[in-house]
């Protein structure tokens, strides 16, 4: 078998013409039934719909398809809203360029991988490396995330990405963070205790607002805990406010409770370990 062993991603992908039966158009909204669509086929159809004028795309029966939202880079400023029913696959919204994605369910690993702009809202949990190298836009996760969330998140001047996590995360939250805002709310935690270790290890920019309890030894050695000020509360009101709106919480409930502000204590944490 000549094709065997090479590129199973492109294997058996059908051409667009064969897939027209999966779409239903209704003015500016397109609905796609994703059952038994391969990853590329779904993304081909989504791009086709966008080019045909859809500004809202509803995906039904999504089950593991990857890179949803990634194909939608357009040089002009078209912004779409994508609603997903089902479980999107890895790298949801990777390299997202300004669209809005809503997931009615759980999502997997790599949400918002190197995302540039836009919004991703997940009404469930996220997997590992959420918001990896994210450089702009906002991600809202209703429940918890896995390992290495916000790893190497970055910011530049007023392009500041935001990740809001409802419950908790696992180890290495904010690893190697160079910028951006992470807010973790601890909703539903027993005794408000987070269990992540190595929080902010390698952090050299950005800020983590943590609601709940962590011990000192759970924080990376580059992290310092400081007092919140008025500007911090303004940031929280904005982003936690939107979180509350999206998922049906009361903002006041969420803003009460003890918040810790975690920031890096040095821009060059590794200056002393090299000998020239």
């Amino acid at each position: 078998m000549r094709e065997r062993g090479i590129d199973s991603y492109l294997n058996g992908v059908r051409k667009l013409d064969a897939l027209m039966g999966y779409i239903k158009f209704n003015q500016r909204t397109a609905e796609i039934d994703a059952s038994d669509l391969k990853h590329k086929e779904l993304n081909d159809l989504m791009r086709y719909c966008a080019l045909k004028g859809a500004r809202k795309i509803v995906l039904k029966n999504v089950c593991g398809q990857r890179y949803i939202g990634t194909r939608l880079y357009f040089p002009n400023d078209i912004k779409l809203e994508i609603e997903i029913y089902g479980t999107p696959g890895n790298d949801l919204g990777a390299f997202l360029n300004g669209h809005k994605i809503i997931v009615h369910g759980n999502a997997q690993d790599g949400i918002g991988n190197t995302m540039n702009d836009g919004e991703i809202i997940v009404e469930g949990r996220g997997g590992d490396v959420v918001a990896m190298a994210m450089r702009g836009g906002r991600i809202f996760i209703k429940e918890s995330v896995g390992y290495r969330a916000a790893i190497h998140m970055k910011e530049y001047k007023d392009k500041v990405p935001v990740l809001v996590i409802g419950k908790t995360s696992q180890d290495f939250l904010g690893e190697y963070m160079a910028g951006g805002i992470v807010i973790i709310l601890g909703i539903g935690l027993k005794k408000e205790k987070h269990y992540a270790h190595y929080i902010g290890t390698g952090m050299h920019g950005g800020v983590i607002y943590l609601r709940g309890k962590v011990e000192d030894y759970q924080l990376g050695k580059e992290v310092g805990v400081v007092e919140m000020d008025d500007d911090d509360w303004k940031i929280l009101e904005k982003h936690v406010g939107d979180f509350a709106k999206y998922f049906g919480y009361e903002l006041d409930d969420l803003l009460s409770g003890k918040f810790m502000k975690l920031i890096p204590v040095s821009k060059r944490p590794y200056g002393k370990i090299y000998a020239y």
């Binding site: 062993g5 294997n11 696959g89 997997g127």
Partner: protein
Amino acid sequence: MGRRTPEKDIQACALFGVMNKLGKRFGCEMVVTALKNMKVRGNGLGAGYAVYGLYPKFRDCYALHVMFQDGNIEAKRAVDRFLNENFDVVDDEEIPTNPEANVVDPPLLWRYFVIPQKKGKDKVLSDDDYVVSKVMYINTKIDDAYVFSSGKNMGVFKGVGYPEDIAEFYMLDQYKGYIWLGHSRFPTNTPGWWGGAHPFSILDWAVVHNGELSSYGTNRRYLEMFGYYCTLYTDTEVIAYAIDLLMRKQKLPIEVVSKIFAPPLWHIIDHMDEKRKKFYTTLRMVYGPLLLNGPFTVIVARHGEMFGLTDRIRLRPITAGEVDEYLFISSEEAAIRAVSPELDRAWTPPGGEPIIGRLEADLDEVLPSQ
């Protein structure tokens, strides 16, 4: 064994396991659907399944699945002789397969249902140890013959092809089991050898594995001291033997064994209370050479139990799902949803914490004998 070990196979893959905790047997559709959903994780160069409870008629015999490379008849005769000398061969036949299936160069596949006939010095061995030694003999001494399944009332079916093609080839729709494991492979070495696919199995252990052990050299050499010789140059082999040593021979429970394979970090141990600190420190001190380093997710099954585990810093994914009496363990959540869109619970434990499924009934009561 000198320095000339062939190049190790790299395991990049998709894993899936499903167990009915009440012991009710079911068919292959769930595991095949799940693996099809994760198709891009494999590349068609290997796939396999393990089924528990599929041979009710021969439930007290060891079911040996043997492959003969290139259909080597001499090898088969040698194995027939060997088995007849050392076992009571209750039944044997070619494993029924579908020649139309899209698989690459299948070997000759045979199954034997055997009962140990121990003689002389071997009489002191337990049945299990006896079977292990005979399987090791065939795998190391009889060329072109390889026993790839050797448990009671369970069987491994694997080879070179996509998961759905392997399922079609072995006609898995004729079997029913209460635990099914499935694996789809993305090997980086040239394929061709059916034995290189997963699951890897010894006695009724079956292991499917995603990842690569950077500690393979260390683990392998430690196991050699206990009589386990790694002949297949895959990391998975080391994991299966380590589990056999720790769980069957040393009778350690999975909660402890998972802490041997994926121990907590010193940073965390140093902050524990005295009792736990002493326990974890001792465990690492004694079983250091069995620490599995490098990224891995494994799903392991034996009669009555299925568990999943990831490495201590979770470099590979795992998701568990539960609905009614079913437990699912998978590389991706979507694969579970493809099988059961509604779940009571979906979760991912931290690295080093096992997902454990145990039969909630007595095995003998639950499995039929016809």
